[in-house]
Symmetry: C3
Subunit: 675 residues, 3 copies
């Protein structure tokens, strides 16, 4: 999980592009004064500076960067220094076209935009090695450079001949023999048998696109090849003697890479958070954003860094809505509550031209500090200064929800019970939100993660079983864990081959039933779950379900609810099975949130999960961080548009930050502190 | 129309892929037991087996197939044996890229998916000849192989240089001289004159796409070239001595090919039927499916074969909805009612991986026979056994509706009165459904078919007049036929050149009017037809029309209805013309179904069409098959969700199958038998 | 603005393609008789005749064309003769593929469709020169040829290597040095620095597409290169001695070219007008069409020519709706009212085949003159004969609205406050329509046009400031002009670089405020403007606004309205600033039409704009043309579906055409005449 990272303070700052302003020294000087005013203590540099650092092949100009960093450091502003690989100089693409990506239709890009390079290209790797080495040599000992920010928002894929060759090698290494390859990808279907590894090609709209095993392995390869490139970047820095910790900045709900596989590659996780506040109710957006924070924290189970966020409106979403007063602070402190040790922005100063010129910034084109946004940023800076001791604390969790990117890839490519949408993310969100509404910390982990230490685990739509997961589940339940599984689980193995002999594979005994069929419902169709009389969970009301209804045949499971309609009227819609010391619950259909709210509350109680705030009103988030010495910081945030009453345990956890008189104001944050 | 085909029994079975299970002999053995249990008497083999039959170029492995066929035959299960051309082995694409298709943008595909081969390629034809020869040599005398299933679901087109050359030859042969080509394609428009046949290119989004004559001839060429390939496939079988009858499996509402042109190419018609039962009301789906069955039967005017259908849910539609109990049987018997001598499924056993792994099957991944679907299939098998004597009987029809694929191509490419939709299929459906609601058999024929033997013929939107059709219409009416034509008819000749001098071309005397203008209505706009006082058809109520309103100037025609609005208020909306011994009716606008229901009922009466069941309740289908000896089987099926009362003529036609007490249950089938 | 053009009469006629009918001499002869009957005095020839004029390379056949022109001239029908470059012969594409366009993805087209040629290709230019020379040589002195119609509906772009090279030259000429290029395109962003002009490439979905400065200059280049080609075409004619005036036919709301830049290239403006009458209320369509007429007239500030319009229904819109009786005349006279000296149609005779065979025509496939459409056309001919003296008169205007195509390019590519739509065209329409509802002439001018002579000028969303515009505005207001600016103005310079130091740039003193932020609203969101008590414009009611709300900080401006909601409740929503002798108003948000109606009425009054008809009822258009001698023709047209009462100033301007009894009939035109 990388080394321990702690910069000694909560960071406040963000991306800064002085290379665009080198002709305006007065502006750069002015910026320093503004940074102080806004309590900025960090900036991120160099992300897109390659053309300035190496204006011609082999000609390096790093002095301007050093001057900027020196000047910042004199002003007590530290730097996360980026490797510049997210956008290469034009001369490189002109001289070495192989550095440009080839799309799935096998067409090579022209130079343009960013994130347009081949991760496999030896030329690109060598050029990367050289520039990273230069940067490392110059800044490895600079006290102002605290971390390496590797490239920017990795993503995308390349289908060039070099990547094809690398993919063939990857496949051969993984499967060894053609016989095995043909078996696991089930190539007998449609006579797709490989006669040679040389025939392996990445998926393409012009070739194969529905050989699911191929699709899945291609996605895995893209993650592995990207990780390999990240390692290559970091190795160049390390080889040159730079030891500052490294990170990559991840993205919201991004499925192009399996971020969990980077846990061992980088030293700390960071991410870029751009919620569309005020589009939906802020309580909805906060819940969604909270889950992403929790994913980021769960990857390494330690504090992460909010690397980018927008102080005002973005310019690339459909509507560039201004953040209303107070929203920036609420959003920023939510990150800290969920485990971030920073609040960083894109961007410190707006660029004058090109595609992001209207993206919100701490300092805008007008150029004054007498702006509403500047004042909002300054308030965040002030708040962070008061919260400094939170830095480095953990977010211990007794509840976990399974969210697995490889499973998601398979689910979304399944051609299964509902091509019009199976709503994987939404299905994960339902138990997540149900738990969060109780004010408890929730880890969002994938199937490779340990279940040790959790009291309750929800596993929504675990369609693809990764090696060893069912064994962990079995032990978890056997030893007293409370487990919740949904429909459409345990269907395929890691190669997307369907299990024979009944599903959920290897869990039929734990769950106490076998799944027989799954029905797809059209949009607008619904069924309902009717509670069984005197069911052990004391469910008393009916809930609606839609999209998918699984029909199961119980063996040892008790039926908690039955369907209320259609030909499967009366068949189980929810079950419970006692297994070992624990219990395994199943939700058989895509039920509305209400069912999850009721069930997860009862499961958390049954599991004995600790709840700090007994009754959490709607729209309020309770999140807890804990220092090594046992000190706890309880963040209570109200994301609703009205003040709400809430009873806080101020005897044990007195109010530390914010004001509390029995209510909490709209978009306000209270922090309690205690043990 | 091919030779007479009769396998001596109604077939029950479907597609089976033992090549995917060769490593699991116990599964293959188990399958045989299951087949018996489900009363399976046929399976279709070999459809995608090329990589197993010829794993390397020139190396053939047919023994496994023979073993499977032998074993099946020992168990009284016959085989339709497929040629494997729908998916070629990878080695072939690797060695001979010319076998891969080129799309309209002139880009060659990579190997992938299926149906991805050039029909023109000499290499592909030679490889096809060789494998088909091998299959024929081995199975020509095998008593278990009853038919040849040629490739699978032919479709798609190839724009490679070889196909371009073939198209140029086709065009040159058809038109002979450049002068004629330029005239019929009206190339003077936009200076598109051809100076040489070498300039002829298939339509392309990068080149010509709105030269309608070219578009139309290209589609004809694609049909002809596909038919030529089918002939090539069959010739290889015949040359090797295989004499079993041949078929291709056709598709629902498929317009990529003109299936009517295959009537003389194959020995019997078969098709793959995948209705989305339970998406709309079952009565709606049944009517739609019924028309497709009737198209398939009308192509050769003899029994067809249901080659594929799904025992449960498909996996490629937007929602994979389970078939509710009883639906499979109702749908299966509907096929038989409309003239099918089989009920076959895709698929017997689900594949473990790749794109159709979740497609419904008789035997699913669980692998037991104790499933709901297996039981439903078994019931169908039992029902078919009772109906065996129906096998080989005809569906005589006194009513016909014109549905012409070449006309449809032209209509849908017309750039005419309504690019937002002229609804050709829906316009054909209206008189079809009106007739079917009377419980009478309806043939769905194209313009090349004879009108002999029909009493009433509806001709909706016959925009393009094929050679000789108006002559047939003239004679039909002259000799006493009842004829119904709609708006937007008789507009262009076979090359899509507009007729000069008035429309409907060559029918203005028969219809007794000239069409002057046609008005397009926006979605939501409507007009109405008001009955003329004392009109001879005794129409008394008004009906709404939308989309298209034609303005006609009567010569000899009587006006039955007039428009009720707009500047053509009072102009004819429906007319009748007495011509010879017959009558020619015209519907001038896109009227609602109600008008067709009333008008077609009156026309059928006027024509003296025999009706077996006097009053057919809504949702009930009555279909009649007749053996050579005059025995009639009257299928009465209730597709509504409630039992309905219906008075059946059980004196003449006693109940043979099913139970009848004055009502017929939901999704139930009653078969009467008599003479 | 080209030379003065006056053909001595209002023209009535249109596009005619006799080359499609050369084999039918009787049809061509019949056409002449029909033309006379319909009072046709002009036809446009040769537009797509290249294959007939040069059937083989270097072989010319112009005799047929001369015969047609002679015969027409004998019948007093003059000709606008087209150069044939909009569609080249097949032999040319076959021999010289470089004449075919390359799309932005760098794929070369096949031969096909029309408008598919490279404007840069030396071959195409040479072939154009030769054919134009031949035409000029033959027809330069022909009295029947009154004008040159250069090609057809120029549009589209080519990305071929020749065009890339030309674009590089254009960029180098414009910016001189790499340093300047890198500065104005702000290439420092994302490290896009150019190291050489050879690296400049047109925008591409496969390369750069969000470097706004590049995008903008590419569009400018396309306009310049097209204009250069037009000049080349005209030069060939002139070099061969042809002196007849030249035109290009422009299109509705076309943004592919900046038409204002053609003012000095061609002798007169013409355009092709295809409104979707009867889709929306005719009053809405009339207002929309009127603005396009006014744009066309404003380009050269003199009469334009309606080059194409449809006598009936088009065949390429979504619904081909017939023009209802009277609509053709109303639409035709609207063109004349707004400054057209012609009413011309596409097309005189329908083609028999190919993509426009169903496009409405004076003579249709039926081929008689006894059709409704022919009679409607004849009525227009009669009306024009009565209006002959209007020919050549001007449309003097005291009000102007700024509509700038370069600004529009920048706005629509901005990636700014609302990517879901900023509605530039609609924003221009609001003050335009408000002025037009007062019955006053309105010029629609771009930022390069002079403001001299106007009393009131509205400037909606002038995001991009073109060189010198603010100076003109400053002087206009200083000298007493009434000026209206909206939100999102004065943001970037001509290279799309954001102004620093506050916006609206260079107008903060004139407007009396600085813009601080702009808020994007989601669809369905709204705010409102509440009038300030006793505001000087006497606004008394609230109006709703949506999409965009700008927050401004007044310096000298008075606040007229304030926002009614959100966190900017109470901040200015509309302001006024007295500057010099004039006044500068600002609308800060996207308000509903009603606000513009009230405000523009008050501004016109304040400015002392002359209004001929005091109260113009809804749906009525009042437009005035004026001869050099001061004679005025006041066109009053009722586009509503009912007759309306209107009080006309018949004392000063007696009724000249049409009937007036205090009301004006639906779709009727009255023309008053006076001084």
């Amino acid at each position: 999980m990388g080394k321990e990272v702690n910069f000694g303070k909560l960071l406040h700052g963000g991306d800064y592009n002085p290379e665009q302003w080198l002709d305006y020294p007065e502006i750069l000087e002015q910026d320093l004064a503004y940074f102080k005013k806004a309590r900025i203590n960090e900036v991120s540099l160099g992300m897109f500076s390659w053309a300035f650092l190496e204006p011609e092949e082999g000609v390096f100009r790093l002095e301007w960067l050093k001057e900027v960093i020196d000047r910042l450091y004199e002003n007590e502003i530290v730097v996360m220094l980026s490797t510049p690989t997210a956008a290469r100089p034009r001369w490189m693409a002109e001289k070495y076209p192989e550095v440009l990506r080839v799309n799935a239709a096998r067409e090579r890009n022209l130079y343009g935009e960013r994130h347009n390079h081949c991760y496999t290209s030896p030329v690109y790797r060598e050029k990367t090695r050289i520039i990273n080495t230069k940067l490392a040599e110059m800044f490895k000992d600079h006290p102002g450079v605290i971390a390496w920010h590797i490239s920017n928002e990795y993503g995308g894929e390349c289908h060039c001949p070099l990547c094809q060759e690398a993919f063939r090698g990857w496949v051969k290494k993984k499967y060894g023999t053609l016989e095995r390859l043909n078996r696991v990808w089930n190539t007998g279907f449609w006579s797709h048998t490989y006669q040679s590894f040389d025939q392996v090609e990445s998926p393409s709209p012009k070739g194969d696109f529905s050989l699911h095993g191929l699709n899945l392995d291609w996605k895995r390869f893209v993650t592995d090849q990207t990780a390999d490139f990240v390692k290559w970047e970091i190795k160049a820095l390390r080889d040159a003697g730079a030891e500052q910790p490294s990170t990559i900045n991840m993205m919201y709900n991004f499925t192009g890479l399996n971020y969990y596989k980077f846990a061992d590659v980088i030293d700390f996780v960071s991410w870029d958070n751009y919620p569309t506040w005020h589009k939906e109710a802020e309580t909805v957006t906060a819940m969604d954003t909270g889950m992403q924070h929790d994913i980021m924290r769960s990857i390494q189970k330690k504090p992460f860094y909010l690397m980018e966020s927008c102080p005002s409106a973005t310019n690339w979403q459909s509507v560039s809505k201004l953040k209303k007063p107070g929203m920036l602070q609420a959003a920023s402190l939510q990150a800290v509550a969920h485990g971030s040790d920073s609040v960083l922005y894109f961007q410190m100063r707006q660029s004058r031209g090109a595609s992001e010129k209207f993206h919100g910034a701490v300092i805008d084109h007008y150029g004054g500090s007498d702006t509403r946004v500047f004042r909002e940023v300054t308030k965040v800076g002030a708040a962070l200064e008061k919260l400094q001791e939170v830095n480095g604390s953990q977010n211990p969790a007794e509840a976990a929800v399974i969210y697995d990117v490889e499973n998601r890839w398979a689910v979304e490519d399944a051609a299964g019970p509902r091509n019009a949408g199976v709503f994987y993310k939404e299905t994960v969100e339902k138990p997540y939100q149900a738990f969060r509404k109780l004010g408890i910390n929730v880890d969002v982990i994938d199937e490779t993660c340990s279940l040790d230490g959790y009291r309750v685990v929800a596993a929504p739509m675990v369609y693809l079983l990764r090696e060893g997961w069912t064994e962990k589940v079995r032990n978890f339940v056997k030893n007293g864990g409370i487990f919740l599984l949904t429909y459409w689980s345990g269907i395929v193995d890691e190669t997307d081959l369907c299990y024979l002999g009944g599903t959920p594979h290897d869990l039929m005994d734990v769950m106490g039933f076998r799944s027989m069929e799954i029905d797809g419902l059209y949009d607008g169709e619904w069924n309902e779950g009717i509670p069984e009389p005197e069911n052990p969970l004391h469910l008393e009301r009916a809930y609606r379900c839609s999209h998918l209804c699984e029909l199961v045949q119980p063996s040892t499971a008790e039926v908690l609810m039955t369907y209320g309609k259609d030909f499967y009227d009366g068949m189980p819609a929810m079950t419970r099975n006692v297994y070992g010391k624990g219990k395994a619950y199943a939700v058989c259909a895509d039920f509305e949130q209400g069912l999850y709210d009721e069930v997860c509350r009862k499961l958390a109680e049954e599991a004995g999960v600790e709840r700090i705030v007994e009754e959490v009103p709607e729209g309020v988030e309770v999140t807890m961080r804990e220092q090594k010495d046992g000190t706890r910081y309880v963040f209570v945030q109200n994301f609703s548009r009205e003040a709400v009453e809430v009873k806080l345990p101020i005897e044990r956890y007195p109010v530390w930050q914010g004001t509390y008189d029995g209510t909490i104001g709209s978009w306000k944050t209270i922090v309690l502190k205690g043990r």
